[in-house]
């Protein structure tokens, strides 16, 4: 189990981005972390994977445990070897390397069967095999996310973290992608921490959800409950006040930026 306890992140010694957040990802589950831009979601992922330092950020409080072992403040390659794998926004692919070379890097420090080689990736994503020799930078956005997932699949981490995989993709591709995320979780038993802005899709595959605003968790509940929650419906799922159509003039989102905070 991955558990984040009261983590605090400060950038440049002054910008207080994450203000004491606790998140638990139980083994074999999909947990989602939702929230608007700038809420601090990505900062949490950076803190966990150890790449805060290159962004002038620092963990100033709290701790992160993977199966009881603290991993807070460890360098990224050590975190990766401990079994946590982050797919950053955009996929984290090496654009100058071919599809096959990108996948081979997934086998580094893999807990999976090395003898299989790339077989599993080709089996799951036949599209990629046809494009094995193409540079990753020339793939379409959807194919790049598939490649990022395929690489994670070969890496066989304990916990897979995804930072907004649906960003900039067509709805049909997003459906396919989320299907694969669920399949990786179900068939490979890999726990998943999914960060999204597409709340409806994320909650549909997750078992538990956290909602974050201004560096704090403002609401957390099983995904089913969040989907029914009146305020979540209004602000994240786009329903509000029954099914009556409203004029956009009446929405006045700007008046309610601090929605859960007093």
């Amino acid at each position: 189990m991955l558990s984040i306890e009261n983590i605090e992140v400060v950038y440049d010694e002054v910008i207080y981005a994450v203000k004491g957040v606790s998140v638990k990802v139980p083994d074999g589950q999909i947990v989602t972390l939702l929230g608007p831009n700038g809420a601090g979601k990505t900062s949490i992922l950076r803190a966990m994977s150890g790449i805060l330092k290159s962004r002038e950020g620092e963990i100033t409080g709290g701790n992160i445990f993977l199966d009881g072992q603290s991993i807070a403040g460890h360098p990224p390659e050590k975190v990766r070897r401990a079994g946590i794998y982050l797919i950053p926004e955009g996929g984290g692919l090496f654009e100058d390397l071919t599809v096959e070379e990108n996948l081979r890097l997934g086998l580094l420090h893999s807990r999976g069967d090395q003898a299989d080689g790339l077989g599993k990736a080709w089996e799951w994503f036949p599209v990629l095999q046809q494009r094995a020799w193409v540079r990753a930078g020339y793939l379409s956005g959807g194919e790049q996310q598939m490649l990022a997932l395929a690489r994670a699949l070969l890496a066989r981490p304990k916990v897979l973290m995804l930072d907004e995989p649906s960003l900039g993709l067509a709805p049909l591709i997003v459906d396919e992608l989320f299907g694969f995320i669920r399949k990786i979780n179900e068939e490979e038993g890999i726990s998943i921490l999914l960060i999204e802005q597409n709340a409806r899709r994320a909650l549909a595959i997750a078992s538990y959800g956290y909602i974050m605003e201004n560096g704090k968790i403002v609401l957390d509940a099983p995904a089913g409950e969040l989907l029914q929650d009146k305020e979540v419906k209004e602000f994240y799922l786009g329903f509000g006040q029954g099914s009556k159509r409203r004029s956009y003039r009446d929405v006045k989102h700007y008046k309610r930026t601090k929605r859960w905070l007093s």
Binding site: G50, P76, E77, R104
Partner: protein, 291 residues
């Protein structure tokens, strides 16, 4: 004319190896290594001593020098460059300049500053190649250079370590996320650069002599590296060859017109002209920055 071309290719293939030294470090660490010339010197002097004083056979001496060069490069990165990660580029450049002066001074202390003939590594006489008689040294320089490049290109394309190194060259953050130790890749790059420096230096000394100014010759290979794009292994090969051939042609045809000197500067003129047309060299990675 053919003879000029052949000797141009031979000199060029040595330039290629020397240019490769710059490229290997720049590719991964984005540091321009002003100490590359003195790393070449270290390998050369070491081979020289192993052959003349220890009496080892030349190929064995070269091999030992390559390994020693690798260790030296590795150690330099660990001790001096590692603490400089994240510091301004200018500081790192100055560090390599200082390092170069120190190594050169130490070499001068140990071996003295006067030039000495390098023991012949290759049988004298010449080989008949494509109807031309070319000296043995030239022939072996071309063969070894090609060998070095084939090995490095295979290493970067096929081995997991090589692919990891290219991954670091593309994006260090992403590379560390996937479990690659970026600092190990940096140290390896320095090791490899010093290793190929030893190879280039030995051939250079075989054609000229062992002296403390051989590092200046290493810098004459620098335009080759830039021409090839600074971060492309294949580019270093072609860039080095081009510089060798151009230098020879300039020596033959331009020097008489100007009264000499063209051979020494033509490489830099070509480099500047090439940069005006292709700012990233022939095979360099083009970085597109949106402002």
């Amino acid at each position: 004319m053919m003879e000029l071309l052949f000797s141009g290719v031979a000199i060029g293939s040595i330039y290629s190896i020397l240019a490769l030294g710059f490229v290997l470090i720049f590719k991964c660490t984005k540091v321009f290594n002003f100490a590359q010339g003195t790393l070449v010197l270290v390998g050369t002097y070491l081979s020289f001593t192993l052959i003349t004083d220890a009496g080892l056979p030349a190929p064995l001496a070269l091999l030992i020098s390559m390994v020693a060069g690798f260790v030296l490069g590795f150690v330099i990165e660990r001790l001096l460059l590692r603490p400089m990660i994240g510091e301004p580029v200018l500081s790192v450049l100055l560090l390599t300049i200082g390092l170069s002066e120190i190594i050169k001074a130490v070499l001068g202390l140990v071996w003295g500053a006067w030039p000495r003939p390098f023991p012949p590594m290759f049988p004298g006489g010449s080989i008949n190649l494509l109807g031309q008689n070319i000296p043995q040294v030239y022939f072996w320089a071309i063969i070894s250079s090609l060998g070095v490049f084939v090995l490095f290109i295979l290493f970067y394309r096929q081995s997991s370590m090589g692919i990891s190194m290219r991954a670091v060259a593309t994006n260090q953050d992403y590379a560390s996320l996937i479990g690659i130790s970026v600092s190990r890749v940096f140290a390896l790059s320095w090791g490899f650069a010093a290793l190929v420096g030893a190879v280039g230096g030995v051939f250079l000394a075989s054609m000229l002599s062992v002296n403390l100014n051989l590092d200046a010759f290493a810098f004459r290979a620098f335009p080759g590296a830039v021409l090839g794009g600074m971060d492309s292994v294949g580019g270093a090969l072609l860039g080095g060859l081009a510089i060798g051939i151009i230098e020879n042609l300039a020596g033959k045809f331009v020097d008489p017109l100007l009264g000499g000197g063209a051979k020494e500067v033509i490489a830099f003129v070509v480099m500047l002209a090439a940069l005006l047309v292709k700012p990233y060299g022939l095979f360099g990675t083009e970085e597109i920055e949106r402002l």
